[in-house]
């Protein structure tokens, strides 16, 4: 059968290009995935016409910004390379699943990947990311917010290129804050917000769904309380020490419970995600909402479409994420996308060249203004056009400097999955019992002694 020998040939070629020691073993083990990879490898080879190497950039779904940046960089490259984009699934966890499965099969068609920061350690530890050349590392971290650099680093080395950096702000209705007598120019605490919302009979939008959003919220609470989900990190999963039962861990649990049982979080807290809380914030019941900056362009778009009164976004105010304790600075969530270069790519050097183009100040400013995704490059925040369209840009920048990443571990899925299982629904958490239960579960899962 000619087909079979062809598979073997191609797999071998892909394998030789990869830098990993164990590629033969890995290839054999990931045999089933190889069939799926075949098609994309074929496509990669087929489009090499005219001698211009084609770089495939796997992007998360957006409003078309990454495809436009790819086209701009292709023009700029002047025929040295061409970037094609390929869109990944909607959920970050599903993006990771697809990329990991392909990389485990040594997929050479993956040149550039848009990666959600919490999954970067896993990719790096598995040897799926090509090492960042020193000169590139130096250039791409210049004037970049700390949280984005931290999110691209594993084992004290830069393993990905910071692209755009997301953070949650505290969105509030100015009319509500005024009526409640809250001085929003000063940092506010969760307690203050809940109290104000109770007085004014409005909602506090938080994400209580059993999904990544819950981990994002809990991580911000525990980091704001001065603790961390992982107290002592290790590449050996059985050595990871969790910080959930620390004072900060209990305080975070307490704040979560207080918000969930205050009656201000709405009837659907246990299924509330970023979108549904943004929708609730737009309604007359909206008061406060911790959410990403998309809340603002979303409201403006609704006004333009005629489905919302212009007075609604005019009433929007924004501030730094709420504090857990009045004296301690908040640690807002950090998210966004950083770019990884596939370890099995045939054009690693060109791919890194392309990431520098993609993350240029102009392209980040373009991405911010058109797609609403905040830049990791601090220079972008001085751009007058950005400031005009996003009056909250300085707050976003300040928030990014304060932001704390989620636990950085190759076993992030286990840690986050365990948090989601035990801390859901948020109304059922107990500062005395939940931290122990979560620690027991996650520890057992990391030791492969329990299902998740």
């Amino acid at each position: 059968m000619p087909d079979v020998s062809w598979v073997g040939d191609d797999g071998g070629r892909a394998g030789r290009a990869g830098p990993l020691r164990s590629r033969r073993v890995r290839r054999a083990l990931a045999g089933a995935a190889a069939a799926g990879v075949l098609a994309s490898t074929l496509a990669g080879c087929g489009s090499d016409d005219g001698g211009v190497p084609t770089l495939t950039w796997y992007t998360n779904p957006d409003s078309g910004g990454q495809a436009e940046i790819a086209a701009r960089c292709t023009d700029e490259a002047g025929g040295r390379y061409r970037i094609e984009t390929s869109v990944l699934p909607r959920e970050a966890s599903e993006q990771r699943e697809q990329l990991i499965r392909r990389l485990a099969a040594n997929d050479a068609s993956i040149d550039i990947m848009s990666l959600d920061p919490p999954f970067i350690p896993e990719f790096a530890e598995a040897g799926f990311l090509a090492p960042v050349p020193e000169d590139v590392a130096e250039r791409v971290t210049e004037d970049v917010v700390d949280s984005a650099i931290e999110g691209s680093t594993w084992d004290d080395e830069l393993v990905a290129v910071p692209f755009w950096a997301n953070t949650q702000l505290l969105w509030y209705r100015e009319s509500v804050a005024e009526a409640a007598g809250l001085d929003m120019t000063q940092p506010v605490t969760w307690d203050q917000i809940v109290q104000a919302a109770q007085e004014q009979d409005v909602r506090v939008g938080v994400q209580g769904i059993r999904a990544e959003a819950l981990t994002v919220w809990f991580n911000a609470l525990i980091e704001s309380a001065g603790g961390s989900i992982i107290a002592e990190n290790s590449t050996d999963p059985s050595q990871i020490q969790l910080g959930l039962t620390s004072d900060a861990g209990r305080r975070a649990t307490e704040v979560m419970r207080d918000i969930a049982t205050s009656g201000t979080a709405g009837p659907a807290l246990s299924t509330a995600n970023e979108d549904s809380t943004a929708t609730a914030f737009e309604s007359p019941e909206g008061g406060f909402n911790v959410n990403y900056p998309f809340v603002y362009p979303r409201a403006l778009a609704a006004v333009e479409a005629g489905t919302m009164e212009a007075s609604v976004p005019e009433d929007y105010g924004w501030a730094i994420y709420p504090r857990v304790d009045a004296e301690t600075e908040a640690a807002p969530p950090y998210g966004g996308i950083n770019l990884g270069v596939g370890a099995f790519s045939q054009n690693v050097d060109l791919a890194y060249e392309a990431t520098e183009c993609i993350t240029s100040t102009e392209n980040q400013a373009y991405y911010f203004t058109t797609n609403g995704n905040p830049a990791s490059d601090t220079a972008v925040y001085d751009d007058p056009e950005v400031l005009e369209q996003f009056p909250m840009a300085p707050t976003i920048r300040d928030s990014l400097e304060l932001a704390a990443p989620r636990p950085q571990t190759p076993y992030y899925s286990e840690v986050s999955g365990g948090i989601q299982r035990v801390y859901h629904p948020p109304s059922s958490v107990d500062p005395q019992e939940t931290p122990e239960a979560a620690t027991d579960l996650i520890t057992a899962v990391l030791r492969k002694e329990q299902l998740l």
């Binding site: 966890s93 699943e97 990991i100 009837p267 659907a268 246990s270 299924t271 286990e414 998740l452």
Partner: protein, 320 residues
Amino acid sequence: MTQTTLPPVEKTQPVSAPGGTTSDRARSERKLGWLLAGPALAVMLLVTAYPIAQAVYDSLFDFRLTDPDNRSFTGLSNYGVILSDWLWWRSLLVTGFITLVTVAVELVLGFALAMVMAKALSTIRPVLRAAILIPYAVITVVSAFAWQFAFDIQTGFINSWFSFLPGIGEDTDWFGGTWTSLLVICLAEIWKTTPFISLLLLAGLAQVPEVLQEAAKVDGATWWQRMRRVTLPNMKAAIMVALLFRTLDAFRVFDSIFIMTGGANATESVSFLAYRQTISRLEIGLGSAVSVLLFLAVVFIAMSFIKGFKVDLSQSRGEG
């Protein structure tokens, strides 16, 4: 009054010479049979037997997809981890519950629909059949989204339409509790797969000999008596085949749970558990062990139907 079925026809071997010796013709027919079925058998072995064997093999290892170098043989310890975990047993119970409820409701509804299709005026019959079959043609993920949107507290219409019912109001969060989540999941499954069962039952209905119905009518049997003593006994084989297929299908429920709750509120099914270990955690060994246990459960269901209820699978091909 006893049940009325046609006297059992003695099954004749297609070709068999008296005295147990096989004739040349029988031999050549058997050879032809193998030739015809052989390629299909080979494909079946390739696409089913091989992955199953691979899963059984993988389940004996501690093996993470991102860390193949540290793969180690652990024997049956993965099975020990699973069987000693309450999550596995809870998922098994949830899966059993969904299977039982959906199959029972589908059987009754499906039978009613089959009767409607069988008795409908011939002019509207094609339209009716197409209409009844539409849900079955909808992709499960799409149907799951449709039901989720319908019941969603923000985008859904169910809460406002049915607010006159006790317990349902503007603030009813269907996906916030175990039983309400399971109710919506079961409704979606029932809506989606009832057409399948009704189609199989329609084939069964068509097989009930008209002569028996007429004889019963002449004897003065009421509609209900004819249904119980003539129609149902003659359809038993078709009903059992439909039940078997649907039970096996229902036991593997995944899509609706994945879309609607993502496994929250204790709604994980066994398939979902296998997904989370294999695809999310990348623990190929542990996930394969869950899959193997799921496979064994499905084999057990199939065997108990075939042995316990004496289901004749040839019925499904209309050979009965």
